[in-house]
């Protein structure tokens, strides 16, 4: 077959232009386009509800975040935070509205306008338990009963299929029991690891959504009782942070155990993540080498991480003898647990809560919890063999160290701070109290204590150093974290989701987080206050005004997305996959709005730390990117009609299929121009070639067609769009289908 290369190339170019024109035009209507970072839930999910079409699933978590997922597009549609202190008790879709039952005040979320308003409507969900009752480790209905396979584990949910032919029960260990109406088990599965918190059947009865406290939602097909999809979180809460005295680096750690180093270089921002711990990173601290960071993990280890060699150099064990077997026979631990009234208390606490490295890089100190009824651990260890002051070639991985401790130590410090080569303070255990320790040949000796607010000597006040004045259990009504800037009178107190800076009687509030604050740090010469919270976000604020400058998300372990309050973003690497755009009630791939909102120049300008010539360079690069598509900035202001493409059988699309192809019924329309062509991409490969499938012969502004799409094994990312006769392309509709062979 002869191919006219020149024509083909011209056509391809015109399609690219049309595509970006679409992007720009749509993008110009900024209030309708909202970037959505694919974070998922950052807390335990409490309830879940399908919409009437079976396309959307809404779920609410303990942080009062409501997440709506477009299950077919495989993307998070939107995330909204309920105001106030009440907790979400239920969700119910009413066409394109989501009614959110909340203690005290109900809300309605409009999926078209993306607005959340108080409402008087109440949800009226008929109980779907089918008369099956939960009684501890049993589910009962009349004489029929289902007994948990672990007799000491209680069932938490039961739901009967509307046709009465299936009963699903979930327990607090995450097990799912798929049963006949007689409660005979058909299948048992443990996709989830924590409590099953809600079960909801889709309106067509084909699928079921199961929410768990492990922050995920699983979707099962009823016909095959097969797991079709699992909606898992992609961003995790950031805990410990530390700002380097030079003001150009920020180290932080997340819930998954990754340690990150964010560097504000002269002309760019870089971030690197290293898998360090098997639990969350509670604290991080810079060493004298700005490329090496000490971490405190929840897995019984502190470590020193080398960001030049990209490895944890050495681990330091906190509790020397911990094992499940020991927990089994630790009678004191059993007794303590039996008599305790505090549910959150950890009896076999393996958390290292804080870490610090001496100014000469020769010693590390770390403080952790009690394991059983032992004393808490405060340890020190020599790290001179890590050669932190040497070039990276001289820094080698070392064997794990046990460290030195004092048997009679009673302290658990949330922060440690070296004031000299051989002296350090423990902070945050008692309000406004700093306990001094002096290193000795056998470890350390406890010395006097002093007031935190009275400060330390002038010569031990590194830049950007904030110290904990007090720390307590997180609360909406009391200050649970108070930190003080050592070089000023500023104090930062956290209450609920808000930070307040108090300085010389003047206070500034920092409002914008959606969860409890985990840590605050300052970078004084950049005028930044940086906070991390239990909403998977890190926010950079203007420390003077309280204005939100930038929200930072870590997506898929290491990909950073910076989003400005006006929705411009900077995404590192392929972090764009962690983004989506909500436009007119649909969630669309980020690429479609990339030209409009992927604006590193704007993001860097807003950060306010880069020189104008650097920003100008980024702006030039942006213009160049625009010009490659044949457009300029002025064209962003244009307004134009777009053709529309609707997948009519969208609700028939299965999440997984064994069929070799997929039939789509498409309807394409345009108010002004005839539909010229359409195209389908499967995993970025155009099904009908780059020119697409011509529909010009139909000479119509509204046409329907059916296409058979061959599916390859595994995931098939399918995109469909149409183009009108003047070359303007519709938005691409995207969904994912997995083919099993």
């Amino acid at each position: 077959m002869h191919i006219n290369t020149s024509n083909s190339r011209t056509m391809a170019k015109s399609m690219i232009i049309a595509f970006f024109l679409t992007i720009i035009v749509v993008g110009s209507n900024a209030q309708n386009v909202i970037p959505v970072v694919q974070t998922g839930h950052s807390g335990k999910i409490k309830c879940v509800n399908w919409d009437n079409t079976g396309r959307y699933i809404a779920s609410a978590d303990m942080n009062n975040d409501v997440v709506i997922n477009d299950v077919i597009a495989g993307k998070q549609f939107f995330k909204v935070k309920l105001p106030g202190k009440g907790t979400v008790t239920g969700l119910q879709f009413d066409k394109s509205k989501l009614i959110i039952a909340n203690h005290g005040q109900n809300y309605v979320f409009d999926m078209n306008s993306l607005t959340l308003e108080p409402c008087n409507e109440s949800i009226n969900i008929a109980p779907d338990d089918g008369g099956y009752k939960l009684r501890g480790a049993t589910v009962k209905k009349g004489a029929r009963s289902l007994i948990n396979k672990d007799i000491y584990v209680h069932f938490t949910q039961v739901a009967s299929h509307p046709n009465g032919e299936l009963v699903i029960a979930g327990d607090e260990a995450g097990w799912l029991y798929f049963c006949k109406p007689s409660l005979n088990i058909i299948k048992r599965d443990r996709t989830h690891r924590l409590d099953i918190t809600d079960i909801d059947y889709s309106d067509d009865g084909k699928y079921i959504a199961i929410a768990s406290a492990d922050r995920s939602i699983s979707i099962w097909s009823i016909a095959e009782l097969k797991l079709e999809k699992r909606l898992v979180p992609r961003s995790f809460n950031i805990y410990g942070m530390d700002a380097h005295p030079d003001g150009s680096r920020l180290a932080f750690g997340d819930e998954l155990g990754y340690t990150y180093l964010l560097v504000f270089e002269n002309d760019k921002i870089t971030c690197k993540g290293i898998n360090t711990h098997r639990s969350r990173v509670n604290d991080v601290c810079f060493t004298p080498n700005p490329m090496c960071v000490a971490t405190a993990g929840g897995d019984n280890f502190a470590s020193v991480v080398d960001f030049e060699n990209n490895i944890p150099l050495q681990y330091f064990k906190l509790q020397p003898n911990t094992s499940k077997l020991k927990q089994t026979f630790n009678i004191k631990g059993i007794q303590a647990k039996a008599t305790s009234t505090d549910e959150d208390e950890i009896f076999f606490d393996e958390n290292v809560y804080s870490v610090a490295v001496s100014p000469d890089g020769k010693q590390i100190a770390y403080s952790g919890g009690k394991w059983g009824n032992t004393n808490p651990m405060l340890k020190v260890s020599a790290i001179s063999n890590l050669n932190l002051d040497e070039p990276k070639e001289k820094r080698k991985k070392r064997k794990m160290e046990i460290g030195l401790t004092q048997k009679n130590n009673k302290h658990i410090f949330p922060q440690l701070f070296f004031i000299s080569e051989n002296e350090f303070y423990g902070l945050g255990e008692s309000n406004n109290e700093a306990q001094r320790f002096k290193l000795s040949i056998t470890g350390y000796d406890e010395k006097d204590n002093t007031s935190v607010r009275s400060g330390f000597d002038d010569n031990v006040r590194p830049n950007n150093m904030t110290v904990i004045v007090s720390k307590s259990k997180k609360s909406m009504t009391d200050d649970y974290l108070v930190k003080k800037d050592l070089n000023s009178e500023d104090e930062f107190s956290c209450r609920g989701y808000t930070i307040t800076r108090t300085s010389r009687g003047r206070s500034v509030k920092f409002e914008g987080h959606r969860g409890y604050i985990n840590d605050v740090e300052i970078i004084r010469d950049k005028n930044y206050l940086i906070s991390s919270a239990e909403d998977a976000a890190m926010i950079i604020w203007n420390i003077e005004t309280g204005e939100k400058i930038m929200t930072v998300y870590v997506v898929d372990q290491g990909k950073l997305v910076f989003i400005s309050p006006d929705n411009y973003y900077l995404a590192q690497g392929d972090a764009l996959t962690g983004m989506g755009f909500n436009y007119n009630g649909r969630v669309l791939p980020a690429e479609q709005f990339d030209l409009k909102y992927n604006r590193p120049d704007i993001v860097m300008d807003k950060l306010g730390i880069f020189k104008p010539d650097v920003i100008a360079l980024y702006y030039k690069a942006y213009l160049k990117r625009l010009s490659k598509t044949g457009f300029n900035v002025e064209m962003l202001k244009a307004d134009m009609n777009l053709p529309e493409l609707v997948i009519e059988n969208v609700t028939d699309i299965q999440y997984k299929t064994t069929q070799p192809d997929l039939k789509l019924k498409l309807n394409m329309s345009d108010k002004m121009y005839e539909i010229d062509r359409m195209n389908v991409w499967v995993n970025d490969v155009p099904l009908f070639g780059t020119n697409g499938l011509s529909l010009i012969d139909k000479h119509t502004k509204n046409t329907g067609t059916e296409v058979n799409i061959p599916l390859s094994e595994g995931n098939n990312v399918i995109q469909v769009s149409c183009m009108n006769s003047i070359g303007v392309e519709s938005l691409k509709d995207e969904f994912v289908i997995e083919r099993e062979v």
Binding site: S145, D150, Y152, A173, L194, A213, Q327, A338
Partner: protein, 262 residues
């Protein structure tokens, strides 16, 4: 040495399985009923030929003829569905009292009158390991369990006192007098005089007051009589309380490790 290793290996292997081990502690009291239709042989070794005499449980003093068992231990449970096994390392503190009277007081070669009496008592500390199978069921929402098993008891610290008391309250040491008392194997006083490994079959019935707090009713067989006659009633009936604690659910934070992309 092998047994502890086997137990540890067993525990390690089962703790690696998805079903969680449950452990806790238990304390209980059991009352043992002695037979009063039973006899015991006392052998006089002072003569050229050993002579045997019989003594019977004193019916008038039957209220003193009893045994008490106070035990505390640390049960470890593991199982699947309704079927669970309990391994119960425990310590049993056991006491027994038994007054006897003689078949023919006149023929007694020791003592001076028919009012002379024979009195046994024992005090034993017995480490034990019990293994019990339990079947769990629910009756009207109440969690119950029935089970059967065996306790392996190893008497360690034993204090026995056997006294022949005459009406004038003069005590005679039977060994000094040259008497031997013959205990039938596996009876309580035999255990006391011959330490070794003793097996006690037992039956239990548990009523769960809450998920992890259970009242235990039990019967276990441990011969209390001499064994020469079939007793009307023999064994221990008791009750106890067990508080079990699971290791807890999976750590909320560590569960997140499943989302790590290595």
């Amino acid at each position: 040495m092998r047994l502890p290793v086997v137990i540890i290996l067993l525990l390690l292997s089962i703790s690696a399985m998805p079903q969680k081990l449950i452990r806790g502690y238990t304390v209980g009291y059991a009352h043992g009923f002695l037979s009063h239709g039973d006899a015991i042989s006392i052998i006089d070794t002072t003569g050229y030929v050993d002579e045997s005499y019989h003594a019977y449980a004193d019916e008038e003093k039957l209220k003193y003829a009893s045994a008490s068992s106070l035990y505390f231990g640390f049960p470890i449970e593991y199982g699947y569905s309704r079927h669970r096994f309990t391994l119960l390392p425990a310590v049993d503190i056991n006491t027994a009292h038994w007054y006897l009277h003689f078949e023919d007081p006149e023929s007694m070669p020791f003592g001076l009158s028919a009012n002379d009496s024979l009195y046994f008592k024992s005090f034993m500390i017995m480490p034990q390991v019990g293994l019990t199978y339990k079947f769990h069921f629910f009756a009207g929402g109440i969690h119950l369990a029935v089970g059967a098993g065996v306790d392996v008891k190893i008497p360690l610290s034993i204090l026995t006192q056997t006294s022949l008391v005459d009406s004038d309250k003069t005590e005679y040491d039977p060994t000094m007098l040259g008497y031997k008392i013959h205990y039938t194997p596996n009876t309580i006083f035999d255990i006391a005089s011959n330490p070794g490994v003793h097996l006690s079959p037992k039956f239990v019935f548990d009523i769960y007051l809450s998920r992890f707090l259970a009242i235990n009713l039990m019967y276990y067989r441990n011969k209390l009589n001499s064994g020469e006659h079939n007793p009307l009633l023999s064994g221990y009936f008791g009750g106890g309380v067990t508080y079990l604690l699971p290791f807890g659910k999976e750590d909320d934070i560590r569960v997140l490790q499943q989302y790590k992309k290595e």
